[in-house]
Symmetry: C2
DNA sequence: TATTGTTATACTCTATAACTATA
DNA sequence: TATAGTTATAGAGTATAACAATA
């Protein structure tokens, strides 16, 4: 509790990596909190968004998209399926694959969750003007494109 | 491996939180990799920087500064002490407190580690012009000040 | 033999809470 | 009784590897 001076961490804020890590962690935990009322976490939110944008896909494809091991998809999809947000159907052409598709309920919850996500984003950027927000997003996208642009974005710490 | 289309995650990049989380994770893991040759991780790097800027302090004060529980400091400082980068001295006025101070070796390794950190930052921002880099840092600092500015910056996922 | 999805295991990280020594 | 530091424990998250079904 005995933090010193005004702000000893100020010296760290010169490092953009520090700012990115801190804001990333804040944003992640807050996103999870915002999404919790809808029964999903930010990974599942991303999953629903991809399904919505790219159409149905196998768990392998999805795990490739999200850059996570297939084993991790199981619980994620289990939970979405239990809540009726996605449907798992054995592909007729290749019965090994699970074809995952968004249900009507899934599309509905995605719409509501998306609103919450946008609301939180607005709150995060409340101090920036509209042009500044666009500038920030554009700069971050350029950095992202260079360093994570190749294919799926991996965590792989 | 069977990631679909050009980049299905593109739909996620409209969310600044996604970009921040991904870049934060990338930056963190890369920082650890850059610092590993010096025998420290990014937390210890931050610790050394704070000691350098604010002078010696107790473990409590440091843990307050960094926003982590005192128990976590122990191993962090143990390791730094083993390598001779900091000295732990029982305070004479209150023998419960450990006064942590930077050693000469600590100051030397900090200087070298800092160069590596700056080099990585330059690489991260390689596609941005000098004014753009300044703009990005300034925007991030303003967002940080609003949402994490109060005191110590907590992780607390 | 290779691949999809699943399950089991093991490892890392971290917070919480007991414990000690000082005050 | 309260506080600084330490140790112990327990939980979450996650990757890796074994496994079953299908190709």
């Amino acid at each position: 509790m005995t933090a010193r001076q005004p702000r000893p961490t100020e010296v760290l804020e010169g490092h953009i990596g520090y700012l990115l890590a801190k804001l990333g962690a804040l944003s992640s935990s807050r996103m999870d909190a915002e999404l919790a009322p809808f029964g999903i976490n930010r990974m599942q939110f991303g999953l629903l968004k991809i399904l919505d944008a790219a159409g149905p896909g196998s768990q392998q494809a999805l795990s490739g998209d999200l850059g996570m091991p297939p084993s991790r998809m199981v619980a994620l999809v289990d939970d979405l399926e239990d809540q009726g947000f996605v449907a798992r159907e054995r592909s007729s052409s290749d019965r090994r694959v699970n074809e995952i598709r968004l249900t009507r309920e899934g599309r509905a919850v995605l719409a509501r969750a998306n609103k919450a996500a946008v609301r939180w984003q607005d709150e995060l950027l409340v101090d920036l003007s509209a042009p500044e927000r666009n500038q920030l997003v554009e700069l971050l996208r350029r950095v992202t494109a260079r360093h994570l642009g190749g294919g799926a974005v991996h965590d792989h710490s």
